[in-house]
């Protein structure tokens, strides 16, 4: 009833091509941004920023990066965490070695460094596909953290190989309060998500999708395969690199290369699969599912145990959490193999007809 586009006439091409063609969607997105920018900073406690919202946004950005590569360009990658590590280490070294470099510039350059490395590891994609490509990107996942540890220069010869991020200062203003860090991350992620959403609708994005759907056909209609695949790797790694820099500066505060391991790469891949392959919204939904659900389950189990007067061992809840989490992933994949974004799509279709479905 509320969600109906009847009566919204498009009289210009610009109106027809806009990002959210339905007015209700535009209102909803603006409302969501208003909540994220105004209501959340006013209401949430530090715990929410530090442990829930900032990691959610950082991983959502990484998931967008992987979604561009895997969801839109069809190139399977298991190296996302390694590209994050490149971004984090690059940002650290830029801040350390280039005095006076603005923070946002070093984040962007960190993304560029990651993009460069991504292109390098994307080269095999010109010859191999599918699972074989996944194995080639797996090499990145093993090689990059090893290199970052092996060469002391990257961590400024830190004894333990751990990098400690410098304070985040923009124009002399230091972002050290959780809410400030959250707002900075939110702004960067929102802008990059907007850019991604637009990019996948542009000629670049359409050529990615053409290559994904059938690369021979794409080549026949004149899409340059080499350039298309490599731009996908570059853009994807750029996003992962910026996510890595934010992971280091805004979330954990330190980088231990072994934290950005294969396990994390898989988790980012799961975010994309569960959220929705080939969907920017799906990246956010998947990141929310993977980062928030374990915490939700843990807290929920404790609360439930408290209600029934059970004294749970901390280890037990962790085990139960793993079981439930695994079960839910399987459940979602069976019920909705196209991910949470598809679930949202279906809901939207139904809402248009509600309350009079035929």
């Amino acid at each position: 009833m509320l969600y109906r586009e009847a009566g919204q006439f498009k009289t210009t091409y610009a109106a027809d091509q806009q990002l959210f063609p339905i007015r209700q969607d535009r209102v909803a997105v603006l409302a969501l941004l208003a909540v994220a920018y105004v209501a959340v900073p006013l209401l949430a406690a530090d715990y929410w920023f530090n442990a829930i919202l900032i990691p959610f946004l950082v991983f959502a950005l990484a998931a967008i990066g992987l979604n561009i590569l895997t969801g839109y360009a069809g190139q399977l990658s298991l190296g996302s965490a390694a590209f994050m590590a490149v971004g984090a280490v690059a940002a650290y070294n830029l801040e350390l070695r280039v005095p006076g470099l603005p923070l946002l510039v070093s984040f962007a350059l960190a993304g560029v460094c990651a993009a460069f490395v991504g292109v390098l590891f994307g080269l095999p994609s010109l010859r191999i596909k599918g699972f074989y490509l996944a194995v080639a990107t797996l090499a990145a996942q093993f090689f990059i953290p090893w290199l970052l540890v092996k060469v002391g220069w990257f961590s400024n010869y830190s004894a333990s190989g751990v990098i400690t991020a410098q304070p985040m200062a923009i124009l002399g203003y230091v972002f050290d309060q959780p809410v400030e860090r959250y707002l900075l991350v939110l702004t960067i992620v929102a802008l990059l998500a907007l850019a991604a959403k637009n990019m996948v609708r542009s000629a670049v994005g359409r050529s990615w999708m053409a290559v994904r759907d059938m690369d021979v056909a794409a080549q026949v209609i004149g899409i340059p395969i080499v350039r298309t695949k490599l731009t996908a790797f570059a853009v994807s790694s750029f996003y992962c690199g910026v996510a890595g820099a934010l992971y280091a500066y805004a979330y954990v505060g330190t980088v231990q290369p072994e934290d950005l391991n294969l396990d994390l790469s898989f988790r980012i891949l799961f975010m994309v699969i569960i959220g929705g392959i080939g969907s920017i919204l799906g990246s956010f939904l998947g990141a929310a599912f993977i980062t928030l659900l374990p915490i939700l389950l843990e807290v929920g189990l404790h609360a439930a145990a408290g209600q029934f007067g059970l004294n749970l061992m901390p280890g037990t809840t962790s085990m139960v959490q793993l079981l439930v989490f695994g079960g839910l992933i399987i459940f979602f994949l069976i019920v909705e193999p196209y991910g949470l974004a598809r679930l949202w799509q279906v809901t939207k279709e139904k809402l248009r007809l509600w309350p009079f479905p035929h």
């Binding site: 072994e258 934290d259 609360a303 901390p314 962790s318």
Partner: protein, 440 residues
């Protein structure tokens, strides 16, 4: 499709409903202790032993003494799985649980310690890293909120080198010897590198460092390298399943176990019992004595275990890590007691506890009074020295139990102190910290 969607909505609603009553306030008027522990995963067995000891001692203080000077203790354990980002999440959760804060955090992971180094001063929460963590944090003028009590990795590494020298018949004999450091590839495993390199230069032995990736349950290629290299000694810097795997792989490769020395995290019954007969002859440094023959263990048996207050398995009681957990709890409790002497008998904030740790003095008489006897060496903390005695004692697994094979001894303390100060000064310069003692 319809039922499944209802199920999804139901699940989400249930999750939200459960999420609502999270902020269970801790009982007012108690000293709340936040515990970032782990009992799951490849390091879970080790963590469980340590944290059982920790919590059993807290139970003892409540049951026998009615708390610290009448202030009862309360606590909550959060599972980190030895994972750094989970550790940060737990820390953030625990710090909101009580108005006064979580007393002091024992991260029990060098990685988590590193992730908390910047957060703890901002939140005014002291970190106690008993025998692990960032070594240069011994310099309390640069790291006022970090307390690597008892000993640290550089003391351990130099102690191990000294022990090897003793077995070889003097430091002069070490020249041209080959030593391998087989380490857990994490911040924990990398921590001893600088001091071992310095020792190798000073004493002239050849050093090769071989990483084992997390979790370390597969070491075939590392041991092939070792067999090729033919070292005289292998130093095992392991944790969790890695240590037992090192021992059994060494047996398979025919490397003598009595040429292997572990540090104190690679020297518990959990490691050797899992390796079976492969462990016989293996040496390990120890930070504390194992065994039940201490008055405090008998007290815990009487007041806590026999009363069914704790779920600790009988086998764990008196093990190396259980005793260490108990000692860690004892130092926290004594620091709070010291703090109460200055700030009054009330639940203390992190700042007040920090003062208590910095002025902690548990001498031999006090250890006897507390029933610890010789389990741990006495400890006196000061602003310049946040560490401890750095004493270490070597033990050998005879196939059934650990037997002490040396007295309490220390490594090259002068070298360690110099490296600590250099490293801390470098950190201070990088971070723009002015080294100074905090007054309160």
């Amino acid at each position: 499709m319809n039922t499944s969607k209802h199920a999804i909505i139901g699940l989400l609603l249930a999750a939200i409903a459960l999420f609502a009553p999270t902020a269970q306030a801790q009982q007012a008027g108690t000293q709340f202790i936040g515990i970032t522990g782990y009992r799951v995963g490849p390091y879970g067995a080790n963590g469980a032993a340590f944290f059982s000891g920790f919590i059993d001692y807290l139970h003892l203080v409540n049951e026998r003494d009615g708390g610290i000077n009448g202030i009862r203790l309360s606590w909550e354990e959060c599972e980190t799985e030895y994972n750094n980002t989970k550790g940060v999440e737990c820390y953030e959760r625990l710090k909101t649980r009580a108005a006064a804060g979580p007393t002091a955090i024992h991260p029990m992971s060098t990685g988590i310690t590193y992730a908390l180094i910047d957060r703890a001063p901002a939140d005014k929460i002291p970190l106690i890293t008993l025998g692990y963590g960032r070594t240069d944090s011994v310099d309390g003028r640069v790291f006022p909120w970090l307390f690597p009590l008892l000993s640290n990795y550089w003391d351990a590494a130099t102690g191990i080198v000294k022990f090897i020298a003793m077995r070889e018949g003097g430091e002069a004999k070490l020249a041209k010897k080959k030593i391998v450091l087989l380490y857990h590839d994490s911040a924990y495993g990398k921590e001893p590198h600088p001091v071992l390199e310095a020792e190798s230069k000073k004493l002239g032995f050849e050093l090769r460092m071989i990483p084992v990736p997390h979790p370390g349950n597969e070491q075939q290629s590392q041991w092939l390298q070792i067999r090729q290299y033919r070292p005289d000694w292998v130093i095992v810097w392991g944790w969790g399943v890695m240590t037992a795997t090192s021992l059994s792989t060494a047996q398979k490769m025919g490397f003598p176990r009595d040429r292997m020395v572990g540090n104190w995290w690679a020297g518990s019954e959990i490691d050797t019992e899992a390796a079976g007969d492969a462990a016989a002859g293996y040496y390990a440094a120890s930070l504390n004595l194992a065994g039940r023959d201490f008055p405090v263990v008998r007290e815990i048996q009487k007041h806590v275990l026999d009363k069914g207050k704790s779920q600790t398995p009988a086998k764990t009681v008196g093990s190396v890590l259980w005793n260490r957990g108990m000692a860690a709890a004892m130092m926290t409790v004594e620091a709070v007691r010291t703090g109460q002497g200055k700030f009054g008998k009330k639940p203390l904030t992190g700042e007040q506890v920090r003062w208590g740790i910095e002025n902690l003095n548990v001498d031999a008489a006090r250890l006897n009074q507390l029933g610890f006897g010789a389990m741990v060496p006495p400890i006196k903390v000061s602003c310049a020295d946040h560490g401890g005695s750095g004493l270490v004692r070597f033990q050998q697994w005879d196939g059934k139990q650990w037997k002490a094979v040396s007295d309490w001894m220390s490594g090259d303390r002068a070298l360690v102190r110099k490296m600590v100060e250099d490293s801390a000064a470098k950190y201070a310069a990088e971070k723009g910290i002015k080294p100074a003692c905090l007054s309160s």
